[in-house]
Amino acid sequence: MAEPTAPGMLHGDSPGLRLARRSLVLVALCIVLLPFADLSVVAHDPWAELSRMATGLALPHWRELSSPLQAIGLTVSVALWGTLLGVLLGFPLALVFFRSRLVRTACAFVRAIHELFWALLFLQVFGFSAVTALAALAVPYAGIFAKVYAEILEQTPRDAADSLPPGVGRLSRFIYAELPLAWERLAAYTRYRFECSLRASVLLGFVGLPTLGFHLESAFREGHYHQAGALLWLFYLLIGTIGFWGHRRLLPLLTLGSLFLLGPWPHVDSGLLWRFVSHDLWPAPLLDGDWAGLMAWLGNIPDLGPAIGNTLLLGLMGTVGALIIALLLWPLASRHFGNPATRLGGRALLVGLRSTPELMLAFIFLLLLGPSMLPAWLALALHNGALIAFLAARHADNIEPGMPGLPAGGRYAYELLPRIYPGLLALVFYRAEVIIRETALLGMLGVATLGFHIDSSFQYLMFDQAFFLLLVTAGLNIAVDALARRYRPREVVMDDPCSR
């Protein structure tokens, strides 16, 4: 990739210059590829629909909601137990994570598939039950927890363990000298993950599990915007007040209580499960050993090349867009800029943008701009950019400016940005893989990404094809993740934003 800038400007080996070069290469790559993206704008008259939406959000009809409390209860229960099961599965794996390539690969694989797609798979066997929801969260989270816990444990200071006399058993060493030192970070991460799972739990409603998202999606899709508005406010409220109801002391009680909300448990037929795993997921010609038939089967797979191209392009554009949005928006929520009122507004904006499901953002832009990659790009960039901006602002708030009296522009450019930029860029790289996964969900825009074809395959009940495409997607995600890891700034401690 050619450098877009004059020679001499960015030469040198300091960390700052290296970051600047990487950012510019990323942006340049995006600009070079932009002509290949499908970005036409066609919009005639979106205002009627948009004003209906706006009135819905402004005047929510609370009374029309049917059993919102039950939906909220289920949303929270699924999030709690999904996280808990993920911890239970992931923790043992974390202990062997760096010793077993197999475990690492397996974890990378389960992480690489979006929760919604796991849900679609489990749905085929467990129906619309809590088992589907819990498995859809617990399986990918197990892979995430295994990785993050292992990294945290690895960074634990060794001094305590080293000072133990020889002959102390591995278990004792772990329990007395390693775990206590890592405990706080493990707990903090788990809590963070729980907040992510709450959002995921809502999203599971989009495929039909009766969480908050179920009602939200129905109402929104059918244009009952007054109800959709009420549900969206409920969702913001639930996320916004997590600090109150999700208190450390309250959580065990909530966890136990919520167990009763998850039922009724379905009757699980192991024959059915076996049929799905051993038969439905595999191409029939492969099971019969019919190689010619397998070629024909492969020939029926929808155009893989353009789908992968679209997915990667949208992923790159989303990542660069998120970087730009994050750079623009983070001062809105930082204590170094504005006054309390603007900061409150800024924080509300960022929380709103990151909490609103991308699908809804995409639909609003679809109405405004017409069908193309553009609405998907904006939705991904705004959602992820706001999320990163929020964390960047938090980083900045921990910094004490050393040069008082600088104007805001100077504070931004010379004081704060240089210090938070490595962390911000690391988050963007970290997020790249998530953005790739999310491109999968935006098939309604008529953009044929891999996710569009996966969704179609599930709709046509061609599970073998869906599974094959999922494997391709997982491979792609793992490759992008490896690439992002290779180039992301290493100098910073990561503050994880629900990213894996």
Binding site: F128, S218, G263, P371
Partner: protein, 288 residues
């Protein structure tokens, strides 16, 4: 792969704990094509009616998509379902012995409308699909909707002899009839295909600005929605259960119940009535 097996084993481990649901409850599902709000509440009334008439416990299982309804039906998680034309065929192919019991009065001769934004200049109410559709952007409804995808695509191919992707500048799937109307009305898509009863209901309720979007062409009649029941219900619920369910459905005359579908009433139907849908589905590669 090993991970998959491990996961499977883990879930199998959960399974014994999970078996607490009663076995002899008769379960059904239904997805109406319009107004999916308060589904549970509304279909609870239908469940109560069936329970009274059939003298068994009846439960309504809410489902979000036709593919999910078919999976539930295949897995015996529901025994009776109100399917669309295509999803019914999918379900009956997957569950041998299952049969179509009854269809709505309207479903014997169902239609789709092609609708166009007024700015396209495509005239309303034509005798056949106009040539001028070519090169516009187009949206179907849901991917497996009979009235929003299957039959419109069939008539498009019949008329123009090419795939929608090469006929139109862009082809989208709005996911829902109501949304198709909104997208064509706003001009986001130029043309769309929509279930005629959803369109008529929306026009009657004043939710559509007919100055901005109008019907271009109405498809010939085809069979659509129907109740389908699994073949093994007689074994579980007693001989003649299938017939009793059929009678219960045909005898549903309370407008309050019928409004949920929404249909004027139900009439008997057989699997054979859906042979045309099956052929079209196979031709379009949506069935295999």
């Amino acid at each position: 792969m090993r991970r998959l097996i491990a996961t499977t084993l883990m879930l199998l481990g959960l399974a014994p704990v999970a078996q607490t649901q009663a076995q002899d409850t008769f379960r059904f599902t239904a997805i109406p094509d319009e107004d999916q709000t308060r589904l549970v509440e509304r279909f609870q009334k239908v469940a109560d009616y069936l329970a009274d008439t059939l003298d068994v416990d009846v439960e309504y299982v809410p489902v979000k998509s036709y593919s999910a309804a078919v999976s539930a039906f295949r897995n015996d998680q529901v025994q009776l379902a109100w399917f669309g034309g295509l999803s019914g065929v999918q379900a009956r192919r997957l569950v041998p012995g299952s049969q179509a019991l009854a269809q709505g009065v309207e479903d014997a001769a169902f239609h789709s409308y092609f609708i166009a934004n007024a700015d396209t200049g495509i005239a309303a109410d034509q005798d056949q699909l106009p040539e001028s559709l070519e090169g516009h952007s187009f949206t179907f409804g849901a991917k497996t909707s009979t009235s929003g995808r299957l039959m419109p695509e069939y008539y498009l191919r019949e008329r123009f002899g090419e795939a929608p992707e090469s006929l139109f500048s862009r082809v989208g799937f709005s996911g829902d009839h109501t949304r198709t109307i909104a997208l064509v009305e706003s001009g986001t898509y130029d043309v769309g295909a929509v279930n005629y009863s959803v369109w008529n209901a929306a026009v009657e309720a004043g939710r559509v600005d007919t100055d901005k979007v109008h019907v271009v062409w109405e498809t010939p009649a085809y069979p659509d929605y129907q109740w389908t029941i699994r073949g093994d219900v007689d074994e579980h619920f007693g001989d003649g259960f299938t017939d009793r369910v059929r009678q219960a459905l045909l005898g549903m005359t309370d407008p309050d119940l019928l409004e949920s579908f929404p249909r004027q009433g139900f009439i008997p139907v057989s699997n054979d009535a859906y042979a045309p849908i099956e052929t079209v589905g196979e031709d379009l590669g949506l069935l295999r």
